[in-house]
Subunit: 177 residues, 2 copies
């Protein structure tokens, strides 16, 4: 499941499949919250929407877009807060979590880290054999994150799981001393 | 309860009292998470710590420091994510939530919106009749947020509650038509 975090629009996309096999679109949605509401209430709405999807689809892994500080964006704080909510929703359930940068996602689905939005949407449609690019862009981005995770994120999750297991063993050995 | 959000150190402070009466320190703590751990795990630790305090102290209101995008800070994304977690933790329980800017907090406790960190700590100690300024600064900042909320936030919360109630009435009237 891919999550493109945002306060006004938060994209959710579930893709099924594995490397080397055709991927399948399971579902896609965009959570929307009104700028007229207090930020805390909007974040709770996003949390509920994400929780509902984690319940429904029980994904093997969650991929969230990595957010960077950019002074030129007035929406970056809300995006960062929404990304924190998404990360905690997955981590709280013990679902393996990966963060992918926008460049990594663009490179994975289109071959270029500097691909345009429309190109990403077109590639998502081609990869998932859809008749048109998912709209709005947040929906396409969430699916692109899920595709990216299947194609390149699997190894990262397994590495992190192995590191975590190794650390637990060291901690257990330390406790037994 | 005041929360000074942060990924490495998150200050929590509970203050009891009302405008025009001496305020009392109930408890203060700083949640710490290691930079060696994945961000999602750190955010879950912060969420658990905040939830535990909301359970224990059942505060009448929660005041969180308002976070601004600043390009000069490498920690701003983690701070924004932690603030989102804090806001949702309060909002999920229906606890009135207020955001105060650092300048508002400084002005409330010291009389100057540009007061130094040490001055804020000294004023928090004086207001709560402590022998020394709470350490680290995150602890003092959390208490300063709680004090600020009691002194100036109460009116803001009541205003928001009134607006929300008014909107519910309009919605209910619309539904009855």
């Amino acid at each position: 499941m891919g999550i493109d975090p945002g306060l006004t629009r938060c994209g959710l996309g579930v893709v099924e499949g594995q490397v080397g096999r055709p991927l399948r679109l399971v579902d896609v949605n965009v959570l929307r919250t009104s700028a007229d509401r207090p930020v805390a209430e909007r974040l709770v709405t996003i949390e509920k929407g994400i929780d509902a999807w984690l319940d429904e689809f029980a994904p093997d892994a969650v991929a969230v877009e990595r957010v960077f500080a950019r002074s030129d964006s007035s929406t970056i704080m809300g995006t960062a807060q929404a990304s924190g909510i998404a990360m905690v929703a997955a981590a709280r359930r013990g679902i393996p979590l990966a963060l992918h940068t926008p460049s990594e996602v663009k490179a994975a689905v289109s071959g270029s880290g500097r691909a345009a939005k429309a190109q990403v949407g077109a590639m998502v449609a081609r990869i998932l054999r859809l008749e048109a690019a998912p709209k709005p862009a947040d929906a396409a981005d969430a699916l692109a994150l899920a595709i990216t995770h299947i194609w390149r994120g699997g190894a990262q999750s397994r590495l992190e799981a192995a590191v975590a297991q190794h650390e637990r063993r060291i901690a257990a050995a330390g406790g037994a001393r």
